[in-house]
Amino acid sequence: MRPDAYAITIILLAATVESGTILLFPIIGEIFTERSGILNLGIEGMMIIGALVGFVTAFITGQIYWAFFMGMLAGGLASLIHAFISITLRGNQVVSGLSLTIFGLGVTNFYGQEFVNLQLAHTVPQVIIPGLSQIPFFGPILFKQDYMVYLSYILVIITWFILFKTKVGIQLRAVGQNAQAADAMGVNVYKIRYFWTFFGGLMAGAGGAYLTLNCAPFWLDGITAGRGWVAIALVIFARWNPPYALIGAYLFGAINALQFQLQSMGTTIPSALLSMQPYFLTFILIIVATLLVKAKHIGVPKELGIPYAREEK
C-alpha cells in the first residue's frame, strides 16, 4: 500500500475503535440486561445522563478517570427507576424504557444548559502500551488508545467468560430463558434482574461519558444523537453474545469514522447523506440479524419483556 494510504487507513481504523467504544459499553450492558429478561429502551437516556455527569465532573474537577466513574454511576442510578417499575411493579417495559429516555434527554437539557459549548481543558489521555503497540498494523490501531478502550477490551473478554464459564452466567441465562425453572431451582430471579439492569445502566453511562470525555469533548444538548438506539439494535445483531458486540460496535464505528473523514476531506457527497450511513447500516443490520435469528436456540431470551410473578396455581 502507498504510505499515505496506509497512514490514512491506520488513522481511520484507530478512529473506528474510538468511535466504536462509545457503543461497545452500552451494547454489552444491554446484552446482559436483556439476557436477564428485562428490556431497557432507556439506553439513550442513560447514555446522555452519563455523558453530562461525566462532562461536568471533568469540567469541575479536571479528573478524567473520576469523571468517567461518575458518569457510569449516574447511568446506573438512572437505570434503577426502570428496574423498579419493570421488576417489582411489573410495569410495561417498553413505555418505561421510553420514559427513561425522555427523562434523560429532559434532565440533561435542563441541567446542561450552563455547560453548552464549553470545552474540556483535558480530555482522555492517550496511553500507549509498550511492546504491543509496535505490532505492525494492529499495534497502532489497538494499542495506542486510552484506558477506557483497554477497559472495553477486557470487558468483552471478562463478560464472555462470566456468561459462559461461571455460575453467575448460568444463573443469568436461566433467568432470561425460563424464569420459572430458575426460580424452582432456588435462583433469586428478582435480585438477578435488578443487578444486571443496573449493570446495563453503568455501561450505558460509561459509553456516554466516554463520548463527552474523549470524542466530543464538549457538551451539546442531545450529543448522543441516537447512539443509544443503535446500541439496542446492535444487541440483536450481536445475538446477545459479547464478542459479536465488538463486531457490531466497530462496524458502526467504521462507517462513522469513514463518513466523518470524508466530510472533513471535503467530498462532493452531501454531508447529510454521509451522516445517514451509520443509521442506515444499522437498519439493514437489524433486518439481517432478525432473519438470521430464526433458529430458536440462538435467539432472543425467551423471557424478554415478560414480568415474572411466582403465582400459586
Binding site: 427523562f103 446542561g112 452531501p270 443509521y279 437498519f283 437489524i286
Partner: protein, 356 residues
C-alpha cells in the same frame, strides 16, 4: 414484606385516582428538580401557567402547539391499541412535510389555493404513510422489531431532510441557511381565527380524533385491532389477519403524522426547515399513553401538554428555565402512571396488612 395479590375487579375510583396522582407527583418531581437549580418552583409553575393560558394570545399559541400533538397521538393510539410500538412518528412527520413541500415549491403558481392545499394534504399523508409502511411490512412479514426500525427511520428521515435543506431545496437567497423559500400564500393553510396563528390544522386534528375514535369503537377494523392487542392467540384463532391489520393501522398512523408535518409547515412555519420541532415525536407518545389510549381524551391531554410545552417555551427566554423541564415532568408523570398501573390489577400488602 411487599406483596401483591390479584384483585377481583377494578375499582372505579382507582382508575381515575391513579392517573391524577401520577400527574401531581410528576409535577412535584419537576418542582424538586427546579429547586435544585435555585429557582422557586412555584414561580416557575405560575409562569408556565401564565405562559400557556394567561392571555388570549398565549392560549391560542397553546392550541397551535397542540395541533400536531393531537394529530400524531391519535394515530399512535390506533397502533398502540394493537401493541405495535410506532416510535417513528417523528420520521413520518418529516416525510409528510417533505412530500407536501414538493407541491408547495413547485405548484404554487399553477394550482389554485384549495387544490394546492388538498394536494399538499394528500402528499403529506402519503409521505408519512409510506415511511410507516416500511417498518410495518418488516414486522408483519419478517417479525423485525418495530421499536428499532421505526426509530432508526427517524434519524434517516432527518438526514434526508438535512440533505434537501442544504442541497437542492435550499433557498438561494437564504444566506446559506438551510431553509426553503417561503411558501406562497397559496400553499399556506388558512387561519381559523384572526390575530392568532391557529390554522385549519386544528380541524384536521379534531376530525382525526373523532375518526380514530369511531374506527376503534365502532368498526370491525377497530374491533380486530383490539382483539389482536389483547390476545393475539385468540385473534389468530378467530381468523383475524394480523399482518393486514398491522399494515393498515400503520399506514393510517403514518399518514396522520405526515399530515401533522404538512400542517405545521404549511400553517405555521410557512417553509421547510430543519427544526420542525423534534419533541413532537416523543411527546405525542406521552399524550397517547396519558390519554389512556382514548382519542377523545387525547384532545384534552394534547391541549394541556401543549400548554406545558408552550408555557415552558415562554419561560425559557424569560426565566432561563431550559425546555428540558417539559421532558422531565412528562417522563416523571409517565413513571408514576406505569408504576401505579399494577394497583389496578393487584392489591398491595405491606408486612401482612392491606394498603391499597
Amino acid at each position: 414484606m411487599l406483596k401483591f395479590e390479584k384483585r377481583e375487579n377494578i375499582p372505579l375510583h382507582l382508575r381515575i385516582l391513579i392517573p391524577l396522582i401520577s400527574i401531581l407527583l410528576g409535577v412535584l418531581i419537576g418542582g424538586i428538580a427546579v429547586m435544585f437549580s435555585q429557582v422557586n418552583p412555584l414561580t416557575v409553575y405560575k409562569a408556565i401557567f401564565i405562559g400557556a393560558f394567561g392571555s388570549t394570545y398565549v392560549f391560542s399559541e397553546t392550541i397551535v402547539v397542540a395541533i400536531p400533538l393531537l394529530l400524531i397521538s391519535v394515530g399512535l393510539i390506533l397502533v398502540f391499541k394493537m401493541n405495535y410500538w410506532n416510535i417513528g412518528a417523528y420520521g413520518q412527520y418529516i416525510m409528510g412535510a417533505i412530500f407536501s413541500t414538493y407541491f408547495a415549491l413547485n405548484s404554487a403558481e399553477t394550482m389554485s389555493r384549495s387544490i394546492l392545499l388538498m394536494m399538499m394534504c394528500i402528499a403529506g399523508m402519503v409521505g408519512g404513510a409510506l415511511w410507516a409502511l416500511i417498518p410495518a411490512a418488516l414486522k408483519a412479514y419478517w417479525k423485525v422489531n418495530e421499536v428499532i426500525t421505526t426509530l432508526l427511520l427517524n434519524y434517516i428521515a432527518l438526514y434526508i431532510l438535512k440533505f434537501l435543506m442544504y442541497g437542492p431545496w435550499r433557498n438561494p437567497r437564504s444566506f446559506g441557511f438551510p431553509l426553503t423559500k417561503i411558501f406562497e400564500l397559496n400553499a399556506q393553510l388558512p387561519k381559523l381565527i384572526s390575530h392568532t396563528r391557529i390554522h385549519l390544522g386544528l380541524i384536521f386534528g379534531i376530525v382525526a380524533a373523532i375518526i380514530i375514535w369511531i374506527i376503534i369503537k365502532k368498526t370491525k377494523f377497530g374491533y380486530e385491532i383490539r382483539v389482536i392487542g389483547e390476545n393475539e392467540i385468540a385473534a389468530r384463532y378467530a381468523g383475524i389477519n394480523i399482518a393486514k391489520n398491522i399494515i393498515l393501522a400503520m399506514v393510517i398512523s403514518g399518514g396522520l403524522a405526515g399530515l401533522a408535518g404538512m400542517a405545521q409547515i404549511s400553517g405555521i412555519i410557512h417553509m421547510l426547515q430543519i427544526e420542525i420541532n423534534p419533541d413532537y415525536g416523543y411527546t405525542a407518545i406521552i399524550v397517547a399513553w396519558l390519554s389512556g389510549l382514548n382519542s377523545l381524551t387525547a384532545m384534552i391531554v394534547s391541549f394541556f401538554l401543549g400548554g406545558l410545552f408552550a408555557g415552558a417555551s415562554q419561560i425559557q427566554m424569560t426565566m432561563k428555565v431550559p425546555i428540558g423541564i417539559v421532558g422531565l415532568i412528562e417522563s416523571s408523570i409517565l413513571f408514576f402512571l406505569l408504576g401505579g398501573a399494577i394497583l389496578t390489577n393487584y392489591k398491595l400488602y405491606y408486612k401482612g396488612r392491606k394498603i391499597i
